[in-house]
């Protein structure tokens, strides 16, 4: 037997640090996160950095959107308080039940307007609590979303102030919903009234965004040179834009303003990433995954972004507003939106329940992965808040009250979890966002159109 090694490049990485591509490609979603777990035990280095740059317990916010509402009879727990029985759709959360609050009775009144287009409006207002304006020309007027309020406060601590992640990019054919521009149907993160933040729907691109350029073989000097040169190239763009300003009218200068702002943010990030410690990452995911694989990979990458402390604020869309996706892999063949107009048909209701359960299975995996990451003060989940809801409540009624809402995580001890909390008077969800903002340190007394106080019963006094 001959044992030879001419080069050691293949075995340069200790075996326990290797990541199988199965992590990105595994069809059986249950196994997806497993190969990572070993290597994902947080290293003291990142967490030390997290501790230095913020509080002892880093504050993270994840806003998770599911389309087309939820079949509420199979969602809302019968009992109030702790120790409630999990209804069928919430059953997958069993392992993390003690770290989740189910919140019933909240309403997004800004979306509740007697005009067609509830899906687009509910999605546009999902995190803004502002009624989006209709227009045929694509111009949009909305509010600033809660994740961006938090990003404005905490985003500077990480290379990416916030990330917008999704499983599909959506196509641009026809109007998205009853005269609402597609931007409302496709974006929940809004940096400003007219600035939806586009999301990434390809795991490969998200991976590149987070980790490309992190060349572990480059010397510090080489990395530094690369940073200088990239910034010089970008500076040229800034100079060109500045030259052009003088030749253009007001609207065109506004467009150039967007360009200049984008370049500035990119330059800031180049510096931040260059200063970030090297974070062991898996291989680049390939293209061509199917929907469950993309979802699993995106959730894995969100966990990884937290673990490497590349970002602390993430918004995630499981689908676009009124998604027509079908779920053949769980035996649901019709389009989701169609089924959601259930007409109380038992088959439709059964399908909606299946979809809901599947969504919660995936959400539970994400929460479990966050709970498996240890850091000072507990797990990452313990230190975070994870908000989940939909653009409407019931698919048939298109109502924006009695919304399905989960608030997972303990906000570093500021939120008592494991409860079913009921607000029978239809309190505005904007108040819940004010609670989140208060925890994050955002000084605000109002939010959106109807947020006037932090929602009672959420944050510890």
């Amino acid at each position: 037997m001959t044992r030879r090694t001419r080069h050691d490049h293949v075995s340069a990485v200790p075996r326990r640090q290797r990541f199988s591509r199965r992590a990105f490609l595994g069809g059986a979603a249950a196994t997806i996160a497993l190969p990572w777990l070993d290597a994902m035990t947080p290293t003291a280095r990142h967490l030390a950095r997290a501790a230095e740059s913020g509080a002892d317990r880093p504050k993270r916010l994840l806003c998770y959107y599911v389309p087309n509402g939820i079949h509420m009879p199979a969602w809302t727990p019968a009992q109030v308080g702790t120790g409630y029985d999990l209804p069928p759709i919430l059953a997958p959360l069993a392992k993390v039940q003690s770290k989740v609050n189910v919140i019933s009775g909240l309403a997004n009144w800004a979306a509740s307007v007697p005009v067609a287009g509830d899906h687009a409006r509910g999605t546009g207002a999902f995190l803004t609590c502002v009624t989006p304006e209709k227009s045929e020309g694509g111009e949009v007027v909305n509010g600033r979303s809660v994740d961006q309020e938090v990003a404005a406060k905490l985003g500077h601590l990480t290379p990416f102030p916030s990330l917008q992640v999704a499983t599909s990019g959506g196509i641009n054919v026809g109007t998205c919903d009853s005269g609402y521009p597609c931007a409302y149907s496709r974006n929940i993160s809004w940096a400003g009234p007219s600035t939806p933040l586009p999301k990434i729907s390809s795991p490969r691109i998200l991976f590149d965004r987070l980790f490309a350029g992190a060349d572990p073989h480059a010397t510090a000097e080489e990395r530094d040179r690369r940073r200088r040169l990239r910034k010089s190239v970008l500076d040229h763009g800034t100079a060109d834009a500045t030259r052009l300003q003088n030749r253009l009218g007001a609207s065109d200068r506004h467009k150039l303003g967007e360009y200049l702002q984008s370049v500035r943010e990119l330059e800031t990030r180049i510096d931040a990433l260059a200063d970030a410690p090297f974070c062991a990452v898996p291989d680049r995911p390939a293209d061509g995954m199917d929907f469950p694989e993309v979802l699993a990979a995106m959730q894995d990458l969100i966990v990884l972004a937290y673990r490497c402390d590349h970002s602390r604020i993430v918004s995630f869309m499981l689908g676009d507003a009124s998604s027509g996706r079908s779920f053949p892999f769980i035996g649901v063949s019709g389009g989701h939106h169609n089924i959601s107009h259930h007409g109380k048909d038992p088959q439709n209701l059964a399908d909606l329940e299946k979809i809901g359960i599947w969504e919660m299975q995936n959400f539970a995996r994400l929460l479990e992965a966050l709970d498996a990451l240890e850091e000072p003060g507990g797990s990452v989940l313990d230190n975070s808040l994870v908000f989940l809801s939909s653009e409407i409540s019931d698919g048939d009624r298109h109502n924006h009250d009695d919304l399905p809402v989960l608030l997972a995580g303990q906000a570093g001890g500021q939120v008592e979890s494991g409860r079913h909390i009921v607000y029978p008077d239809g309190d505005p969800i904007a108040d819940l966002f004010l609670s989140i903002m208060k925890w994050a340190g955002v000084e605000a007394t109002t939010f959106g159109q109807d947020g006037t106080r932090p929602l009672p019963g959420i944050l510890r006094a």
Binding site: T5, A116, S135, E136, G138, P181, S232, A241
Partner: protein, 714 residues
């Protein structure tokens, strides 16, 4: 921005109007019916025409299609970086609407990455033949197993592996090949895991024996640079077998890229195009001069206009900086080339504002270079070519005869295919064919091949309007179409042999857009047809007379109760007739959609639906009656709103901005002139590109006035 606020206001009013009536009027009978029907005020009928105004197009960021086509024409590379960019938002039905094309930090980051990669790939030496690499198992760089010279490596233990590093010359999809056999016939088959770097790319079962070794292969996308190929033995649970099952690896290798095509020796390679002089690392002064000439040659094409010395100098300073940082010539010259591709002068189509004198807006003719870009992005979704640049340099482009001749030339060019995706794909919704997801149990016939054939049918059919002088009414009334064997089977027609064949008389069931499977499928739900979508599409996309969205609180109609006797869609849609609010719009939409009920959710013909005979008769609100498409389509194709509507959609796409009331006069003229010329696509394009809005630009009042109610409305 001002316009949008008016739109918001008017749309809000429109939504209220839905409570009392419907905008939609009546195909085949433009006069109002007995029910109160509000007609959309179109310029043709309105009493007071708004004053004409050539308008202005906001600074236009290249959309994904435009970006991909532009860099392909500019550099000669085949990369499609646009696929990675965030989807472009659309306005007025098209994703080339300048107002909707926003810039974001994410897009900027991807532009930067794309530019670096494009220049790096363009500068690569061109492959003249496919890359083929093979190493014998026993000669591989890394072996954990029993190597015998000339006989490969036996992998027998759980840690057994063989690995070798290969340098990938150009990015692309490569075939990773392993020649292997099960070493011991008593312990066959064995299982191998193939990896590239750390990524598993395949698990293969080796069931061949020494007498006839097998070639096991997997296609993997690879970037330029080193790729560590490795082959590992899997055993026990991992392989789904028990015990060790040894495998002999004779060789491993890499072949590709899959899309390799031998270069045309008469054309310069992307590298030759960029490097217009012989670079040198030795002579600094000569290097500087060469870098300057490279930039000076590249920049006017990249920025689609002449550049001045200052602009070249600004970029040259990046080269100088790179050299000072110790970069080699090519790496240093990549910096200014990359910078050119992330500059606003490249990413945006820049049109100078007209000089402003006094408070009143002023107009100006576009410069010839600006006009050249408007033409090329309209018809090609790409940058101007040499001939357009030459005409621009000569100042000849505004001449109507020259413009007409260029239209003929450009529509005959293969680049005009961009219209199929950019314009047709969005106007007629055929882009959505790529996203079709019919219910697999209800439509088991639907497969990727059918999807591709659906798309091709519509593209080939529409292309005849680009290449032949056909009246656009034949889009609807034409009796011809294109089918291949897959569609022939789908349409119950005799097979046609390899490829697509044009059939000029497809019989009463096929021919024309509205009988094409792709469009019929796009206008269906995953599990059934949607007469409403189909009817609405006709009103909106062909007649520009869209009904309002349903008022809030309207329940979608009920599917069949389980156990209840099935009902036809027609019976279900009777629900629309009960409520007067629903009825006002649905009496216009539903009959058209129900006239197409013989075509199921993926466009196949059917005589029955759930066992019930299909009734495709209908009566339009004006009184015209029909039975099926044979009688419905002639009514639609002769509708007087059609020419104006086609003009409006193409005009919106051509300009990249939404039409306003100030465009009504122009649109009426364009539609009338095109109609007089036979309503061909060529005629329509020519009348659009010679119109004032296409060749002129109006200044923007400054600062923008506060939003106010104005005469501008839908």
């Amino acid at each position: 921005m001002v316009i949008s606020r008016h739109l918001v206001a008017s749309l809000a009013l429109g939504a209220l109007a839905a409570l009392t009536g419907c905008y939609g009027s009546i195909p085949g009978a433009p006069a109002a019916g007995s029910e109160p029907v509000e007609s959309m005020p179109s310029a043709a009928t309105s009493q007071v025409a708004a004053p004409r105004d050539p308008g202005r197009v906001t600074l236009h960021r290249l959309n994904r299609l435009e970006y991909d086509r532009t860099v392909a024409d500019l550099l000669g590379t085949r990369l499609r970086p646009g696929d990675d960019f965030p989807p472009d938002d659309s306005g007025f039905g098209f994703d080339n609407n300048a107002d909707a094309l926003a810039m974001s930090p994410l897009a900027m980051e991807l532009y930067e990455r794309a530019a670096e990669r494009l220049i790096a790939v363009a500068l690569l030496p061109q492959l003249t033949e496919p890359f083929v690499f093979r190493v014998a198992g026993d000669a591989a760089a890394e072996i954990e197993g029993i190597a015998t010279p000339g006989e490969g490596v036996v992998l027998f233990a759980p840690t057994s592996r063989v690995a070798h590093q290969v340098h990938v010359p150009v990015p692309g999809t490569y075939r990773f090949v392993v020649d292997a056999f099960a070493s011991d016939p008593n312990f066959a088959p064995g299982t191998l895991r193939l990896r590239v770097g750390q990524s598993e790319v395949a698990t293969v079962t080796v069931d061949t024996l020494a007498a006839a070794p097998g070639a096991y292969a997997v296609d993997v996308p690879l970037e330029i640079g080193p790729a560590a190929l490795s082959v590992e033995l899997l055993s026990g649970e991992l392989s789904g077998t028990t015990g060790l099952r040894p495998v002999t690896v004779l060789s491993l290798g890499l072949e590709g890229p899959a899309d390799f095509e031998p270069p045309d020796p008469s054309l310069p390679s992307p590298r030759q195009r960029l490097l217009v002089c012989e670079p040198t690392d030795q002579d600094a002064a000569a290097g500087d001069a060469c870098a300057r000439s490279i930039i000076a040659a590249f920049l006017p094409r990249a920025w689609r206009r002449p550049v001045d010395a200052d602009e070249v100098d600004a970029l040259l300073s990046l080269y100088t900086l790179g050299r000072a940082e110790g970069l080699a010539f090519e790496d240093a010259v990549s910096l200014p080339l990359t910078a050119a591709l992330i500059s606003p002068s490249f990413l945006f189509r820049v049109e100078d504002a007209p000089p402003q004198e006094g408070p009143k807006p002023t107009d100006r003719l576009l410069s010839d270079y600006e006009l050249a870009s408007r033409l090329s992005y309209f018809l090609w979704s790409s940058m101007p070519d040499g001939e357009l640049f030459d005409l621009a340099a000569a100042g000849a482009l505004h001449d109507p005869a020259t413009l007409a001749a260029q239209v003929d030339r450009m529509l005959a060019d293969p680049r005009a295919d961009a219209l199929l995706s950019g314009f047709v794909g969005q106007w007629l919704f055929t882009r959505a064919v790529d996203e079709l997801a019919p219910d697999v149990w209800i439509f088991p016939d639907f497969d990727p091949e059918l999807r591709a054939s659906m798309r091709t049918e519509t593209e080939l059919f529409f292309r005849t309007f680009l290449t032949e002088e056909r009246p656009l009414t034949e889009l609807i009334s034409g009796g011809d179409t294109f089918i291949d064997d897959r569609l022939a089977a789908h349409y119950d027609l005799p097979p046609v042999g390899p490829g697509f064949v044009r059939i000029t008389d497809a019989g009463p069931r096929r021919g024309g857009l509205l009988r094409q499977a792709g469009i019929l499928a796009v206008l269906s739900h995953p599990n059934r047809t949607s007469p409403v979508r189909r009817g609405k599409w006709v009103l909106e996309q062909l007649l520009c007379d869209a009904p309002d969205p349903p008022p809030p609180g309207v329940d979608a109609f009920k599917e069949d109760e389980p156990g209840a006797p099935p009902t036809t869609l027609r019976e279900k849609m009777e629900q629309h007739r009960v409520d007067p609010v629903c009825k006002s719009c649905h009496k216009v939409m539903d009959p058209i959609g129900l006239g197409l009920e013989h075509y199921d959710g993926i466009g196949a013909w059917r005589d029955t639906d759930q066992g019930l005979t299909i009734d495709a008769t209908g009566e339009l609100p004006g009184g015209a009656t029909f039975d099926g498409t044979a009688e419905l389509l002639p009514i639609l194709s002769e509708d007087p709103r059609l020419p104006r509507c086609v003009s409006q959609h193409l005009y919106t796409y051509a300009l990249g901005r939404g039409p306003t009331a100030a465009d009504d006069g122009y649109l009426d003229d364009i539609a009338a002139a095109a109609l007089a010329d036979g309503l061909t696509f060529h005629a329509l394009v020519k009348h659009i590109v010679t119109s004032e809005p296409f060749r002129m630009r109006r200044s923007e009042p400054e600062p923008p006035p506060a939003p106010a109610v104005s005469e501008e409305s839908l």
